[in-house]
Amino acid sequence: MTALHPIPTGRPEKLVVIGNGMAGCRAVEEILARDSKRYKVTIFGAEPRVNYNRIMLSPVLAGEKAFDDIVINSADWYTDNAITLISGDPVVSIDRAKQTVTAQSGRTEPYDRLLIATGSDPFIIPVPGKDLPGVVTFRDLDDVDKMLAAAEKGGHAVVIGGGLLGLEAAHGLALRGMDVTVLHLMPTLMERQLDEAAGWLLKSELERRGQTILTGADTAAILEKDGHVAGVRLKDGKDIPADIVVMAVGIRPSTGLARLAGLEVERGILVDDHMLTSDPAIMAVGECVQHRGQCYGLVAPLWEMCRSLADAATGAPSGYEGSVTSTKLKVSGIDLFSAGDFSGGEDCEDIVMRDASRGLYKRVIVKENRLVGAVLYGDTADGNWYFDLLKRGEDVSDIREALIFGQAFAMGGGASNDPHAAVAALSDDAEICGCNGVTKGMVVSTINGGACSLDAVRSQCKASASCGSCTGLVEGLLAIALGDEVKAGPKTLCKCTKFSHDDVRRLILEKELKAIPQVMQELHWTTPDGCASCRPALNYYLLCAWPGVYVDDQRSRFVNERMHANIQKDGTYSVVPRMWGGVTTPNELRAIADAADKYGARMVKVTGGQRLDLFGISKEDLPDIWADLNAAGMVSGHAYGKSLRTVKTCVGSEWCRFGTQDSTGLGIKTEQMTWGSWMPHKFKIAVSGCPRNCAEATIKDFGVICVDSGYELHVGGNGGIHLRGTDLLCKVATEQEALDVCAAFIQLYREQAWYLERTAPWIERVGLDHVKAGLFDDPEAVQHLAARFRYSQSFMQDDPWARRAKGEDAELHQHLAEFRPFPTMIKEAAE
């Protein structure tokens, strides 16, 4: 492209601008600064006012600024520069042949050059009620006025959309005294700018301020009363009252005019590096354009576009190459910054720093020694520095170790190459562990006194024993004092954390951590969203710690538990309906046989636990087969889960000539008490009617051997790879006692074992005496543990198959779509 050569008319060229917004006016300013003589400018604006700073509408709504404060160019600017402003009169058509534009009022204006800067239109989700009075968008001053009018009456505001704009609207309305609910479709607020961890911190902070934030909330309809908006209905059936509804779900480039005029438009108006459209007499700039495939919704890129536009329009083309953007949330008291690509990945190095006590989360992403992304929450002072490094694509290997600590530290001289230097430089009375008030001197003397591992330091001087945020500092001191002699601490839960399973379990309770991102934040996880080892473990620990409160995270479950069936080597599933105590009926057998036929089971197998397993079921058919089995009265056998699997029984006193007690009946009662419970690992029970032990109760996690005088209770058996016979736990006289001890033992195991540790290795690790002490030292312990178990069971005994059969999580079983290539295409592909 070459410069726009002046048109030799002998008079200034006529430049008409459509759009009196941020980009349109900035472009004019830039052109005037370069050559104030060349153009005679006319600006059309749909809004009946002068040019103002749209970004500042948020502070206007929040009451922090008045409209006058946010005007960029007052009426004088237009007159001083001989610009004709035609405001409140939108342009409705462009005639490219005649080179004229026509506005709504009928006014027609000729142009030599046309500049389209129409910005974007708020996206309105097409739900019933979207046009009701009281439903507003957040785009211009009129919208703000509507919101302010509503806020004066108080009441409820619902903001649909938890992105930048929605949250700023919610903040403003809350400050104006409204009761605000934010509905966000995605599970993470501002998911395009924030990762899960930062999104979670933001959500907690907004909730602390009194807003209600519903994530995963899909709007079904906007409700009406007396011709005005009255509420919002979600797809899950929930109704939320509303006196005003703000739609802030996104924007799309305003391209209607350009399309009508026959310019090339995709998502936005297509422009080249000089902001020229497909018609060389027409330029476009701002949110309405698409440049090198990108559309932008922030001002920084617009400024860059305007500069290159002005360069081209005044004969010195420079060329715009696209922008990297960064985001800040303008909600007072919340510091949040994100820039670049923060999605990470294995070819990227993810450096995460979490400081729970100060509410900080920082994450920088380095790829091939260059910074490619950053997310900062709580302290954004270094945002600009990171953004600058990112834009310049500078090699950061020299400051790699200190990068996460920010500019002051990273640039602070030679010390930065040695990660321990900072710790070494601390004075002896510097506090290392805030929770326990331990100074550097105290830690050092503990180490000198013989503590040569993190664990030893923790237990001897308590540094890093509470929240653990100082673990890195303590390790630094250990490394300085002992060099290579540092002994490894106990096995950590996984490589994402320094904490052991026991520490994590303890801290979840002590610090009342109730969500996975919260645990990761508070316990200083070093990865943004964990790994395949820690996610399922944390999900279980939280579920166990907070029954009825914690919401299960199915993304953190292994496929079998997510699909409620066993995945087999060919990717099909097997399905095991529950048969209480191993007892079935002709009707159940018929239903199982019918299901096997109907869904093409390729094998029906009696399992080791006395149940029937149907193999070869496809994931699409699972909800249907479950519906059929449910209809015949059967529920999921949980044969897939880290959960109670089966209670195996023998026939006992009812039929067997040796039987001493009703082992089948007790087995059924036991299974009815324990089914559905999630455990650290799979859990099996058996009840035998006499010491002949036909149900093989002595190789189960919990086994009952009925004897004349009562019940012998056994624990910790394992028939798996490492065969282990049970230990005798105790003997009790009645069925009820047997059930209570069973519940108590299970709860002790649930509360203490590490995730993926079966009872046998658990008991070998902690010792049978520890288990006995936990159950029997305190005469009330069995009752307390059993009560806790039953309480959690009140939430868990809910057949997952029934919920799936009713359509819950249907998408897990469905394909996205199916691709059927057309025959011609198939031929082409083959050629």
Binding site: L185, M186, P187, T188, E191, R192, D195, E196, G216, G250, R252, E266, R267, F342, S343, G344, G345, E346, D347, D350, T527, P528, D529, G530, C531, A532, R535, P536, R555, S556, R557, F558, V559, N560, R562, M563, I567, K569, G571, K619, E811, L812, Q814, H815, L816, A817, E818, F819, R820, P821, M825, I826, K827, E828, A829, A830
Partner: protein, 117 residues
Amino acid sequence: MIGDWLDIGPVTQISPGNARTLPVQGGEEIAIFHTMGGEFFALVNKCPHKHGPLSQGIVHGTVVTCPLHSWNISLKTGHALGDDKGCVPTVPLKVDAGRLYLLREAVIGAMAPERAA
């Protein structure tokens, strides 16, 4: 331009941390992933180890852990990570105006040649 890409629907049909599948008639099923960080990726739904359905694994970062034997597969490159060796074909994917597109050529390329003929 549009013709080269296959529109497979809105981004909202896959929530972050989850994956969904696209069977290809006469070809390999494709798994489409949405990471917790908000990115989308598409791979042939077949683990390089013993063909486990990757779509059913746990997603963390830009990695999926295969549900069968826990190999970690990069969603970006399709390569097995760590000590494991192997690679699964990736399918170029782009997100535009809230919709997901797969490169048509790569989808067709995922078809077995004898079936495609």
